[in-house]
Amino acid sequence: MSLAPDEVRNIAHLARLAIGDEDVPAHADNLSRILELVDQMQQVDTKGVEPMAHPLEGGQRLRPDEVIEEDQREAFQKLAPQTEVGLYLVPKVIE
């Protein structure tokens, strides 16, 4: 499994990662080698094997729908790069 530079750029786009053009060949090489390692899986017949998502199988717990947390908006927003009147600011999305 070998990834072309364009495939690397597309994966980086899907992952919302800015990657410098000069770094694309190294990423292509490393990712290809990792995928080659991973491809050893394809030699195994897993027909009928139930996928295991989690070591402890069982459903999610439910709890009563009660308020258990206090509002800590200010404490949390102090961490944000940019806020205004309780809102998180990002560049304009809609013209």
């Binding site: 786009h13 919302r16 800015a18 490393n30 390692l37 899986m41 070591p55 961490l79 790069p81």
Partner: protein, 484 residues
């Protein structure tokens, strides 16, 4: 006092031989004098530590001290600590001062432990050498050219250099056991769900598990008892009583059935490491255990399956770092997509980017069945191998890593070679089982760890099996030179 274990310090504090304040000062002084050589701490919380120590001494005078009251410790910088930077080894979180404490942090704090600071680690716990940290690599106290292992490299190095008597670590694919092995200390990765993941920065949620690291199995037993337990804020936390892990520590190993998987002693294992493990097994025979060869036939598939499951979960977990609510934000974003891409591109290091991209690829349309689903099927095969083995044996033993610590820089540009160094630890996480690493000897001046794997929730037995070995051998008492 720095040569004492947690258990010994507990007795010394109880007998009034030392105060927590004096002990804390001694450790803070050691960190100040020695850690410039190791870089094991990323944050030292000196004043708050002394305050907590004085409070612990007051609790003791009031007759309210427990076994851990006043004992210093340090947290891996993956655990959120209120009011203290929690950077997880990443530029992304360099300015993140956590507004809350992790479940594990709360528990150890309420047990009276005194936090000395936060420990260096691979970025987002992705690495096996502590070389991916934004805060620089950690040196192995046994040989400063060598890596300390990873990702809990700061925890292991700080313990080996006697800069703290106890530390927390996390283990997603070996990150407690492998650095413990490489630094000659003791660590246990508990059963998945045993220790709360709440407030532990998420890497791969179905694999991540926190645990204690210390110098002895006895110390790990005391610490795990304080760390473990149900936490309703972690949806995968297990509702099951926590036993007193110290109670079983005196039991004889007469008749213990130990399985040695032949796949753990095959090609790729260093000869000198193999000899150390053989010698440890011989010691167990002398202690009355029965040795049985077993097979875990899908062992060779652990690395491939892990490097799909873990990156897939990581790519999803790390999507929260978007430059909007917290963490690094790029300068002058042109639009929202540019904000996301550049904040993430600048905030994450190369290894984290690689894993996000592998995960993104494995989960993308058209590849999901071939990668993610296939890896989950192989995960089942690996878990089934262990289940079959535990019908015949009580514990499984082998090397923790195929070789001792390598030199810094040796595998830095070869991710695949780095991944293969976790070959014996990954399957334990895939299955969700508990596993330990115990110092068992040396190759030259670099420590070798013996791995002991147990059945689900059998931590008590694992700890005793390790403890009995430590009663009969003195590898765990060895300390590097030049740390006085």
């Amino acid at each position: 006092m720095f040569e004492h274990t947690v258990a010994e310090l507990s007795r010394l504090l109880a007998d009034g031989e030392v105060t927590s304040e004096a002990l804390t000062r001694e450790y803070l002084d050691r960190i100040e004098r020695l850690d410039s050589r190791f870089n094991s701490f990323v944050t030292v919380t000196g004043e708050p530590a002394l305050e907590a120590a004085r409070a612990a001494d007051a609790e003791r005078r009031a007759g309210r001290a427990g076994p851990l009251t006043g004992i210093p410790m340090a947290h891996k910088d993956i655990f959120c600590t209120r009011g203290v930077r929690t950077a997880c080894g990443s530029k992304m979180l360099d300015s993140f001062v956590s507004p809350y404490d992790a479940g594990v942090v709360e528990r150890l704090q309420s047990a009276g432990m005194v936090m000395l600071g936060k420990l260096n680690m691979d970025e987002f716990a992705m690495g096996s050498s502590n070389e991916t940290s934004f805060y620089g690599p950690v040196a192995n106290p046994w040989d400063e050219k060598a890596i300390p292992g990873g990702s809990s490299g700061g925890s292991a190095a700080a313990l080996a250099a006697r800069l703290t008597p106890a530390a927390t670590g996390t283990d997603t694919g070996g990150s407690i056991r492998q650095p413990a092995a490489m630094c000659g200390v003791t660590g246990i990765k508990p059963t998945y769900g045993r220790v709360s993941r709440w407030g532990m920065v998420a890497f791969a949620s179905s694999l991540d598990q926190g645990g204690p690291m210390a110098r002895t199995a006895e110390d790990c037993a005391i610490l795990l008892g304080a760390m473990a337990g149900f936490d309703e804020r972690d949806s995968t936390s297990v509702q099951r009583e926590v036993p007193d892990y110290t109670v079983g520590l005196g039991q004889s190993l007469e008749g213990l059935r130990i399985g040695l998987p032949r796949e753990y002693f095959a090609e790729g294992l260093d000869d000198a490491v193999a000899r150390v493990i053989d010698e440890a097994v011989a010691e167990y025979k002398r202690l009355g255990a029965e040795i049985k060869e077993i097979s875990l036939p899908n062992t060779h598939l652990a690395v491939p399956a892990y490097y799909v499951v873990a990156p897939a979960e990581a790519s999803s977990n790390l999507s929260r770092f978007d430059g909007v609510r917290y963490g690094h934000r790029c300068e002058d974003p042109q639009d929202l997509e540019d904000l996301y891409k550049r904040s993430r591109g600048e905030g994450f290091g190369d290894e984290v980017k690689r894993r996000i991209m592998i995960g993104t690829y494995a989960l993308s349309a058209g590849y999901f069945d071939a990668y993610y689903l296939k890896a989950q099927q192989i995960r089942r095969l690996i878990a089934d191998d262990f289940a079959r083995a535990f019908e015949e044996v009580d514990v499984i033993m082998g090397p923790t890593a195929p070789n001792v610590a390598f030199d810094r820089g040796e595998k830095k540009d070869d991710p695949v070679a780095m991944y293969l160094s976790d070959i014996y630890t990954l399957s334990v996480n895939l299955a969700g089982l508990p596993g330990m690493s115990v110092p068992a000897g040396f190759k030259g001046d670099r420590p070798v760890g013996l791995q002991i794997i147990g059945n689900y929730f059998d931590e008590g037995r694992l700890l005793n099996v390790a403890h009995q070995f430590q009663q009969a051998t003195d590898w765990h008492t060895r300390a590097p030179e030049n740390i006085a």
